[in-house]
Symmetry: C2
Subunit: 282 residues, 2 copies
């Protein structure tokens, strides 16, 4: 089993709407478990709940859209996913999922709540799409292992990935951000696990914050994240491109797009992030 | 009272978490009440629930982000808004709201469910923003009253607005869509009611579908809609720009951006729409 599959593996909980799992410190970034992993685990729980209905089991198997609100930082340790099926329609089935972890006093603390719709992305024909960005091949890009040691020390999550940033958008790592608010790179899981539609939610939130390319090195917590999955990805490298246009009042948006190895756009997202001051002396 | 304020006016329901209102046929577009009005009413309910807490009453008064999932089409008649406060944090307060209407048999049918965060957008300084689009002044743009009569007959909602489309993106009304997937125009409420942060959610979903500019004249129901509000709008005209890059598998995204009369970006959104075949002989 891949370490990704292990990280999102769920066990039955106390009812049809509950599943349990464990977040590992291996997936931390800064002082929290990576939000993309939390979303992938949440989608897995909701997908399993839907599939428990025989009428749904083989029908709406792909997450198509998810909106997640992050309330507190997920920590290594056990979590509970509580799901609700809201509506099973012809094209989409929609539900809600909440991820909670026990506090030191044993009370459930909600980490994230999301609404998501599942559909079927078998044989989707692309009629119109954003062009994939031009990038040097992966072997001419900058590996995440070349990031500043200060950053890597708090980014064990990056060790799960094979991430190669386009040198044109990796200047921030050498103290020379482009100030354009863009970042792009090649991405795959280090353990060779091929992408599927659920993994795309992780991939949409896997690159370093686009804020780094604006010279903003403080914490940029995700407040809200919405991702659209448009196709099942082909095996191989994913191309991920981030951008941001609007910053003010301590908030910014981060847009992400992903193309698969055939050049098809497979997912896109926008998140609203907080922009916190950089740590002193960082 | 403006007709907009009247349309989102709520009365206390059966508990602290319930409020009731009435959707009017005046706000219909096609066979449904406009989704933007449904979102504005839902945000009003959640905002009132938050403000009922004395600690919150004057603190987080602006909707900052909302993600709405539309399950069934809202119809003229009474509705109930059920709210839940999920977390009151330092910068944001987050909650959930569901809009339901009774079926012919009197059972509650959920129309829309949303998660939203409120904050305080007093004195937001813009550090970086998308430029507003160049457009001819409103008096040189195309009024919605020049749309095809077939379209207007099913768009009473448009009578609530003063909407002036840039002629460069209004060719679809004369059978010549630009095929670029863009639309832009000036927008204000017909009754002169000035914009506020809640009204921006209505404005983000008020223009004709951007699909029209791709020659797609079928129904494009909103499946999911996420809007970010970044500033309180100044009084006067809003500039709204729509775009779409990705279409396939019967789905497309529609992105919207709004600038106020001072040229400040005040809100942006992305929605995932279904793309249905055009009616025969339409």
């Amino acid at each position: 089993m891949s370490e990704y599959d292990d990280a999102i593996r769920l066990a039955p909980g106390s009812g049809a709407d509950q599943r349990t799992g464990t977040f590992h410190a291996d997936w931390m970034i800064g002082n929290a478990v990576n939000g993309g992993l939390v979303m992938a685990a949440a989608l897995t729980a909701l997908g399993e709940h839907l599939a428990a209905d025989p009428a749904e089991a083989t029908r709406h198997v792909d997450p198509v859209v998810l909106s997640a609100y992050f309330m507190t930082a997920s920590q290594p340790g056990p979590f509970t996913a509580t799901t609700e099926v809201m509506r099973c329609g012809r094209a989409l089935s929609t539900g809600q999922v909440s991820i909670a972890q026990p506090s030191a006093e044993g009370e459930a603390v909600e980490r994230m709540r999301a609404i998501a719709s599942f559909g079927n992305l078998d044989d989707v024909e692309v009629q119109r799409q954003s062009d994939p960005p031009d990038m040097p091949p992966p072997e001419q890009c900058v590996g995440a292992d070349q990031a500043p040691p200060d950053f890597l020390a708090h980014a064990r999550f990056l060790e799960r990935l094979d991430l190669r940033l386009d040198p044109a958008t990796a200047g921030w790592a050498m103290g020379r951000p482009s100030m354009q608010g863009v970042m792009r790179g090649w991405l795959r899981l280090r353990d060779g696990r091929e992408p599927d539609t659920t993994l795309l939610l992780l991939a949409l939130d896997a690159l370093p914050p686009v804020a780094f390319d604006l010279g903003l090195f403080g914490w940029t917590p995700t407040l809200e994240f919405t991702g659209h999955v448009r196709r099942r990805p082909a095996p191989g490298w994913l191309r991920v491109a981030l951008s941001s246009e609007n910053l003010g009042g301590g908030m910014m948006e981060e847009d992400a797009r992903i193309w698969d190895s055939t050049g098809a756009l497979v997912a896109q997202s926008r998140q609203l992030c907080g922009v916190r001051p950089a740590p002193a002396g960082g």
